[in-house]
């Protein structure tokens, strides 16, 4: 009994020590490639930093005006197009000139204020202000038209109140609904909080698929896999060591990015448990490693592996829910989002870091990721082992 236990223990011990030796070999090999290291550090640190400087808000969009009225009223409207959203780009003499500025991309919005603008407002008849918006970029076009409509609507409302002789103090006694907004989790809607997190999660995904795939295909391409196969290592050890080594690299990179860039530079509030975040990242990293290993079994050289990785990566990134809300997706693609591991990772990443959510809220997403991860990783391992038979 006792000796059985002893044998088992030594076997397990040597199994683990072999696994660790292989993992160490992977890490050493990785560390010797200076440019590869540079690329990894760049992606985790500088890239997330650069992403933080990008904003999706309307920022000083150029508005040009064709003012046919030149009255105090028209000027008041024009001056409401202010920074940060808008910037006045001057006046044009006719609509044609405005059109040309739009064509050249030098203006985003052209306002056309009709003659008799002030006169008609005073009389109480409705005036139309023509607005042309460059919508070739859907995001900008949408924001610009939305803000323009708000500004003009508010202006009209104020004019109506003035002509009725209601001033601001009497506003309490006008029946109207004042909508008070509160934006949660990111009160000032800082893109410096949104963008770096999304970028970090995407970088983790890119690494998580490409590094294990490359580590596995490289041995095949160079022929060193034959050496490993005649060694006392089992296929599982060969494969696990690669996955573990790459996961270590990813976790280190994540920690650097999280502490130096997200927390250090952008002061992203780390509301939730960091242990939970790293645990989720580890599970996710194993999931993507499964995908990477599967890619490795399909390809004979790295060029093939890289193209296959892109084919898997890009849909994952765009179906992740960071850019495109799942609610607005057409049927079919929406279902496809639920089988993308990045969807769960994004959901949980933001929830932990910004919302401070814990396991009590995230258990279902975590379960989804774990199930999906187990399935994908198992499949990758099965395929990888099969090619040695």
């Amino acid at each position: 009994m006792n000796s059985d236990w002893y044998i088992l223990r030594t076997r397990l011990g040597s199994w683990f020590s072999r696994l660790m030796a292989m993992t160490a070999k992977e890490l050493i090999q990785f560390g010797r490639d200076t440019l590869l290291l540079f690329a990894i550090v760049y992606l985790f640190v500088f890239d997330t930093y650069m992403a933080g400087n990008i904003t999706m808000q309307l920022n000083k969009a150029v508005v040009v005006v064709h003012d046919a009225d030149h009255s105090a009223a028209s000027r008041e409207l024009i001056y409401r197009f202010r920074q940060p959203y808008f910037k006045l780009g001057g006046e044009v003499l006719d609509n044609h000139a405005g059109q040309r500025l739009l064509d050249q991309g030098r203006a985003l919005v052209v306002l056309d204020i009709p003659p008799d603008f002030a006169h008609d407002i005073k009389k109480g008849t409705s005036v139309d202000v023509q607005v042309q918006v460059d919508a070739s970029n859907a995001v900008l076009g949408f924001l610009a038209s939305s803000y323009t409509a708000q500004i003009i609507g508010q202006y009209g409302f104020d004019q109506a109140l003035t002509s009725l002789g209601i001033d601001e103090r009497a506003l309490e006694n006008v029946p109207m609904v004042r909508n008070e907004y509160r934006v949660w989790y990111n009160p000032n809607q800082k893109d410096t909080w949104f963008m770096p997190i999304s970028e970090l999660l995407v970088v983790i995904t890119i690494m998580g698929i490409m590094l294990p795939a490359a580590a596995a295909v490289r041995e095949k391409e160079r022929g060193t896999i034959e050496q490993l196969l005649v060694s006392p290592l089992t296929p599982i050890q060969i494969l696990l060591s690669k996955v573990i080594a790459m996961t270590v690299v990813i976790l280190l990179g994540t920690a650097m990015s999280l502490f130096f860039v997200l927390h250090g530079v952008f002061a992203v509030p780390m509301k939730g448990s960091l242990i939970l975040f790293f645990a989720v990242t580890t599970i996710y990293s194993f999931t993507t490693a499964g995908l990477g290993l599967y890619i490795a079994t399909l390809s004979r050289n790295l060029a093939q592996a890289a193209l296959l990785a892109i084919l898997v990566l890009m849909p994952m990134i765009f179906l992740s829910g960071a850019w495109t809300p799942p609610e607005a997706m057409p049927m079919g693609l929406r279902q496809a989002m639920y089988i993308s591991p990045l969807f769960y990772f994004i959901e949980m990443g933001y929830a932990i870091l910004l919302k401070g959510a814990g396991l009590d809220i995230l258990w279902d997403s975590l379960l989804g990721l774990a199930l999906l991860g187990g399935l994908i990783f198992g499949f990758g391992v099965w395929r990888f082992r099969r090619q040695f038979k």
Partner: protein, 384 residues
């Protein structure tokens, strides 16, 4: 330069590509599938925002107010909540992204001619979605207010409702969307995707193709041969440029036919500009391949210099005009942005050479710099 030797190198590379069936098919499958997935998949229109309601008033007027959200296609009603306490967990779990709280005596106060404050809670995690939702809420609220004000004027001044409504809304905005009449994000995205796909695939093909020779050692055949470095680079890359030119035509056809984006510009101009762009992106791959020794490093470096900037700095998702100066400066460093302008100009705006020559020139300079740098960095007698 000896054209026979260039041809020989190109032919050797071509045979190698053709024999690697998986690689050859991926060289065409990847661009097409990226186009398909994104063209149908990216929908930046913010719609069906899930929201919940806490209605403390439960009056006819509060229902009327809330129904303006419930019936809108921008919002998806998820039900009534009994109290504010239930909102927190739902928002944290992303089951709802917005909640509206109507205070008690909402109807009573409005009927008595007093203003009422309601509360809207918005999930601020995804910032673009937040500002869109806020825009919709403000618009719906403003429409409701101007109706209320119209009724109020009509009662106070004793004038017909029609006139009163007009007085309540003396200025209206008539919005016209240029270039993309229905703000279809599919148009603006499918066109820009051409830039994206042609930015990513050529460098990968090139970088890995060249580094493979370095890593396998087969490059020593070249070092030992009579082929000069210029001949080698041109011959080696010609097949990849050829594949990418074929991809230009395929993608162009997809954008125009499949996604129905109108092509208003000059086809010849657009084709030539695209070829210059492809030569440029191939050059990026070439430069990467000369910097690194291993294919893994080539792969990651290509990600660094192509995938990331073309997502962030090309105007695909984030408009460049709205970046801060640092971001705009970085955007100008990548060729993607110039080509994006050429695509949008040619497809949606119908402007040609006279407006876009500057961008083409920028691409050309970019291509020349990349190829010259690669030429200077490539040696037939490597140091180590």
């Amino acid at each position: 330069m000896n054209s026979r030797r260039i041809f020989a190198v190109a032919y050797k590379e071509w045979r190698e590509i053709v024999r690697d069936r998986l690689f050859l098919s991926l060289a065409f499958v990847v661009p097409v599938s990226l186009m398909l997935i994104f063209g149908y998949g990216i929908n930046l229109d913010v719609e069906h925002i899930p929201f919940a309601v806490v209605d403390h008033d439960k009056s006819a007027l509060s229902r009327d107010y809330l129904h303006r959200y419930i019936d809108s296609r921008y919002f998806a009603y998820q039900g009534d909540l009994a109290s504010e306490r239930e909102i927190g967990p739902l928002l944290a779990d992303s089951r709802i992204r917005l909640a509206i709280i109507i205070p008690p005596r909402f109807e009573e106060n409005l009927m008595a001619g007093r203003s009422v404050a309601i509360q809207t809670l918005i999930d601020g995690t995804f910032t673009f979605r937040t500002s869109s939702s806020k825009g919709y809420v403000i618009a719906i609220n403003a429409a409701f207010n101007s109706e209320l004000l119209g009724n109020y004027i009509s009662q106070r001044l004793g004038i017909p409702l029609e006139t009163a409504r007009e007085m309540a809304q003396p200025v209206t905005a008539e919005l016209r969307y240029m270039y993309n009449q229905e703000i279809k994000s599919v148009w603006s995205i499918a066109t820009v995707l051409m830039m994206f796909v042609l930015m990513i695939t050529p460098p990968f093909l090139t970088a890995l193709g060249v580094v493979r020779e370095k890593e396998n050692g087969s490059i020593y055949n070249i070092y030992a041969s009579t082929v000069t470095r210029g001949e080698f680079l041109i011959g080696k890359l010609a097949p990849y440029v050829g594949i990418s030119i074929l991809n230009i035509l395929i993608l162009w056809l997809m954008v125009a036919r499949l996604f129905g984006a109108p092509f208003k510009g000059d086809p010849l101009f657009f084709f030539l500009a695209s070829v210059i762009y492809v030569i440029c992106t191939t050059g990026i791959g070439l430069l990467v391949s000369l910097l690194v020794r291993t294919q893994v490093a080539a792969m990651m470096m290509t990600v660094v210099v192509t995938v990331v900037p073309s997502v962030l700095y090309s105007g695909l998702l984030v408009p460049i005009a709205s970046m801060d100066p640092a971001g705009q400066f970085e955007a100008h460093l990548f060729p993607a942005m110039y080509y994006t302008d050429i695509i949008l100009g040619s497809f949606l705006k119908g402007v040609g050479m006279e407006q876009l020559w500057g961008k083409v020139l920028a691409l050309l300079i970019y291509a020349i710099v990349l190829w010259t740098a690669s030429f200077l960095m490539f040696h037939k007698r490597p140091k180590s």
